[in-house]
């Protein structure tokens, strides 16, 4: 449940940053960056409090997965929304493509900066973390393969008249979205593994 809530909340932020519904006082990428830093600081405090009170805070590797899940969801939703709004004819040197790129790269910078806020320089990953990651990796590989086959079928069976308006930039971003979705599945499956490992308790994380 918590995994789904984080995905949906982060995705909602990404959609709002990409959409034209809010007239942001600053570039949306910068708003997103500040939001990510603030969320990382709040989360670091929350986990420190949990460590002091209950001693059931997530370990370093699990924290990184939570961070990856939220960042991937936010950035993926931002790119997907911008792509949807721009349409299949998105040109490389256009205002829309430049805005998409600037926002996405600023958000990626925010993801890197917020990782440093959450990072604690502890034991990086032990064999239990690697086992959980390996299980998730195997399953997310299937997700990626399914998405690639779905995209191949879509491109193969779409009438040429409907394919022609699709620019190479649009198609490249579609491929990237496949990677983003597989990465999201990878993070979610890892967190599911940690939750399972913690005895299935709802507050794992």
């Amino acid at each position: 449940m918590r995994i789904l809530v984080v995905i949906l909340l982060s995705a909602a932020c990404g959609v709002l940053l990409a959409g034209p519904w809010i007239d942001w006082p600053f570039p949306p990428g910068q708003i997103g960056l500040v939001l990510m830093l603030a969320a990382a600081l709040a989360l670091r405090r929350y986990w420190a409090r949990r460590a002091a009170r209950r001693g059931d805070e997530p370990g370093e590797p699990e924290r990184e997965v939570w961070h990856g899940l939220a960042s991937t969801s936010l950035i993926g939703a931002q790119i997907a929304t911008a792509l949807y709004l721009a349409g299949p004819g998105l040109a490389l040197h256009s205002t829309q493509a430049h805005a998409l790129g600037a926002t996405a790269w600023t958000l990626i910078a925010g993801a890197v900066a917020s990782w440093f806020i959450l990072h604690r320089r502890e034991v990086p990953r032990d064999e239990r973390d690697l086992a959980i990651a390996a299980r998730a990796h195997r399953l997310s590989g299937h997700v990626l393969a399914t998405l690639v086959v779905a995209l191949a079928l879509l491109l193969g069976f779409t009438p040429p008249a409907r394919l022609q308006p699709m620019s190479h930039v649009f198609l490249a971003h579609l491929l990237l979205m496949g990677l983003v979705l597989a990465s999201l599945a990878h993070h979610a499956l890892q967190l599911w593994g940690y939750r399972d490992d913690a005895g299935g308790r709802e507050d794992a994380g």
Binding site: P61, E62, V123, D126, R128
Partner: protein, 74 residues
């Protein structure tokens, strides 16, 4: 995750060794504290290498720290 068929005496050994904390054991064995928690709860069976490292922390043999549960299926 189902209970591991490999049991252990880690909790008792920690207390026998000056009430060693989970964190101290984790650092000594080079794993996260969450892995020590999972081991003590019987939810995770360590690799042979980790079993040896944990046993060495307490100066014991592996079979003095880990055991096969009688109720586990063969």
């Amino acid at each position: 995750m189902s209970a591991s068929p490999v049991g252990n005496h880690l909790r008792r050994l920690r207390f026998d060794h000056g009430e060693m904390t989970q964190d101290a054991l984790a650092r000594a064995a080079g794993v996260t504290r969450q892995t020590v928690i999972a081991l003590e709860a019987g939810r995770y069976a360590p690799s042979l290498e980790l079993a040896f490292r944990l046993a060495r922390v307490f100066g014991k043999r592996v079979d003095e720290v880990f055991f096969w549960r009688d109720d586990a299926a063969d």
